[in-house]
């Protein structure tokens, strides 16, 4: 085995997660940490921690040169980028390729191919994967012509955007020119790329994504799908697998689409192909591909028994895929709740600070991926994800019950969290019925707000 030492170029729970698998595999870990994270849980677990820069991400976790120099300096064989930060920046993968450090992820060319949303859309079409009606528009007249053809409601999307950023909904065609100008200006400022494209806005849609592993030589296996429809402003809060209520045929078609798309790219490493399921038309459309490990990967691990990080490392090491499609046999149901340091009572405002007490649940079918312990500090420079509580059970009702118990057994003091909010969702009849669409959470939050107001006035 070539990979003996890995530089972990990330922080928080994903750094802890990757370090754990490395320890189990007997691989040394060096954490590349900012000055704010030198006493973090991953720093305590890693074999060594080196300080790459000041707390601000732009001065540390986003510095490609510093990360690669750190890897060379500590003689790391490989870099694991985690998610976010530099994980999907072609620059890091490219510099790794140039200096001969293994990048645990896809090639820089593959990151580029899927990072440009319009190019990814074209790749999907070439692979025979359905995309939502739409396409690139350069002028207002082009946009109006295409808009008329598709019919409102429409979505104006930034080519350089992703994860919900750089999108505008248009309900009337006369609003399209203004929305297009605004989206283009915003995209230019935010992503340095003013190009936009149009797509049909799916009124009742579910977010279903497929986890895949590719060996980089054209062989791909899928590890089933995840339903991530419980979102607030495109931020996922609850994920589950399998996606409730899909017919076996529909499920197989969506899995195949993800495999077709990534096989064509000869995709290497773990990745996720996201689809929008159109409930009114019983169809699904390619949304985008995430060329990295995802926050919600543990639910797939729970039902398949496959360690995705371990597979990533093996693929990066040139050992290919350890499994065939027939070896992937998901069993039961898994749910994940993202516990964030944010206050649902104050519009989910982040609440950094010191965690006085952190007690996490444990037991059969319960897994907690966290970097938070009693006394840990939540710095204001980074995202507010404290932990992911993952449960696994034989079926969905049992998983829901297990999650409620796990949430109830969790105790966090010192910072505001969304723990109580998750408990309410688990007890909500609509969520319990399964198969909610992406409009569910905004509706749930609105009715919750109205109820609280009524209580305050009553």
């Amino acid at each position: 085995m070539a990979i003996r030492r890995i530089l972990m170029a990330n922080r928080g729970e994903i750094a802890v997660r990757v370090i754990r698998t490395c320890k189990a595999l007997g691989i040394e870990t060096v954490l590349a940490a900012s000055a704010a994270d030198l006493d973090s849980l991953p720093a305590r677990l890693a074999d060594r921690t080196i300080c790459i820069g000041p707390p601000r991400p732009a001065d540390s976790y986003l510095k490609v040169d510093a990360i690669v120099q750190a890897a060379l300096g500590v003689k790391a064989d490989a870099i694991h980028p985690g998610y976010g930060f530099l994980s999907e920046r072609p620059a890091l993968a490219k510099l790794c390729e140039e200096v001969g450090v293994i990048f645990i992820g896809p090639s820089s060319a593959q990151i580029e191919a899927v990072g440009d949303k319009l190019r990814a859309r074209a790749e999907a079409e070439l692979a025979g994967v359905p995309t939502a009606p739409g396409g690139a528009v350069e002028t207002v007249s082009e946009a109006l012509a295409l808009g008329r053809k598709i019919g409102p409601p429409l979505l104006v999307k930034a080519v350089g955007g992703g994860g919900g950023r750089g999108m505008k909904r248009v309900d009337r065609l006369e609003d399209l020119p203004a929305a297009m100008h605004m989206a283009s200006a915003e995209a230019g400022a935010a992503f340095g790329d003013a190009r936009v494209y149009l797509e049909r806005f799916v009124t009742r849609g579910r977010h279903v994504e497929v986890q895949i592993l590719g060996d980089g030589k054209g062989r791909v296996v899928h590890l089933g799908e995840r339903d991530c429809s419980v979102q607030r402003r495109y931020q996922k809060l609850i994920e589950e697998t399998p996606a409730p209520g899909l017919s076996p045929d529909f499920r197989a078609r969506i899995h195949n689409a993800a495999v077709q798309f990534t096989e064509r790219l000869c995709y290497r490493s773990a990745g996720t192909v996201e689809f929008l399921v159109d409930l009114e038309r019983d169809a699904f459309y390619f949304l985008e591909m995430n060329a990295r490990i995802q926050v919600e990967h543990p639910i797939t691990e729970a039902v398949t028994g496959i360690d995705i990080v371990s597979e990533q490392i093996a693929i990066a090491d040139g050992r290919g895929l350890s499994l065939k499609q027939a070896d992937v046999r998901p069993s039961g149901c898994a749910i994940e709740c993202r516990i964030n340091a944010e206050d649902p009572g104050r519009d989910f405002h982040p609440s950094p600070g010191t965690v006085r007490t952190a007690e996490w649940p444990s037991g059969d079918g319960v897994r907690v991926d966290t970097h938070i312990f009693s006394g840990a500090r939540i710095a204001p420079f980074y995202d507010s994800l404290m932990a992911k509580i993952i449960v696994h059970a034989a079926d969905r009702p049992a998983a829901l019950e297990r999650m409620s118990n796990a949430l109830a057994a969790t105790r966090i003091e010192g910072v505001a969290t969304n723990l109580a909010f998750h408990l309410e969702v688990m007890a909500d009849p609509e969520f319990q019925a399964g198969g909610v669409d992406t409009s569910y959470l905004p509706r749930f939050l609105e009715s919750r707000r109205l109820m609280q107001e009524a209580r305050a006035h009553g």
Partner: protein
């Protein structure tokens, strides 16, 4: 063929690195049963850190960063402004920018830090005399690591 203590140690090492929790070996009347003990953290190497894994209720202790204590009180630290490779001299074979005993001013260059072929000079930032040089030539220095110490003064 029999099993020596060395063989058993080797088998234990193999089990340790494998994805299995138990190993039973029977050969020529010798029976060997090995089980992953609680002496090592109980976990399955290739399975995800899943269901049965106990959660860390108490965090491991903080990492003690070892920094050489100053040889005398009142010294000013000159720290690295960024992570990179530290060079004491402008070029290999040339004399170092400063030695112990050198007088420096705020603008005196005391070393170079290379980040992916990009050279950054480091100034003393303080006026005085170099008392200690902590960073090694051509070694990786971290952000904020102490490179040298200066006795402030004229």
């Amino acid at each position: 063929m029999t099993l020596s203590a060395k063989d058993v140690a080797e088998i234990m090492r193999l089990l340790e690195q494998s994805s299995f929790d138990n190993l039973s070996l029977e050969m020529n009347g010798v029976k060997l049963n090995l089980q992953r003990g609680s002496a090592v953290a109980v976990r399955q190497p290739t399975a995800p850190p899943a269901t049965a894994e106990p959660q860390p209720q108490a965090a491991p202790p903080p990492v003690q960063r070892k920094v050489k204590s100053p040889s005398e009180p009142g010294l000013a630290d000159v720290v690295s402004p960024l992570l990179g490779i530290f060079y004491r001299a402008p070029k290999p074979g040339e004399p170092p920018f400063v030695e112990v005993g050198s007088k420096v001013t705020e603008d005196t260059v005391v070393g170079i830090i290379e980040v992916m072929k990009l050279m950054n000079s480091v100034c003393a930032g303080v006026k005085g005399q170099v008392v200690e040089i902590l960073a090694e030539n051509e070694a990786l220095v971290e952000f904020d690591e102490i490179l040298l110490r200066v006795r402030p003064g004229a």
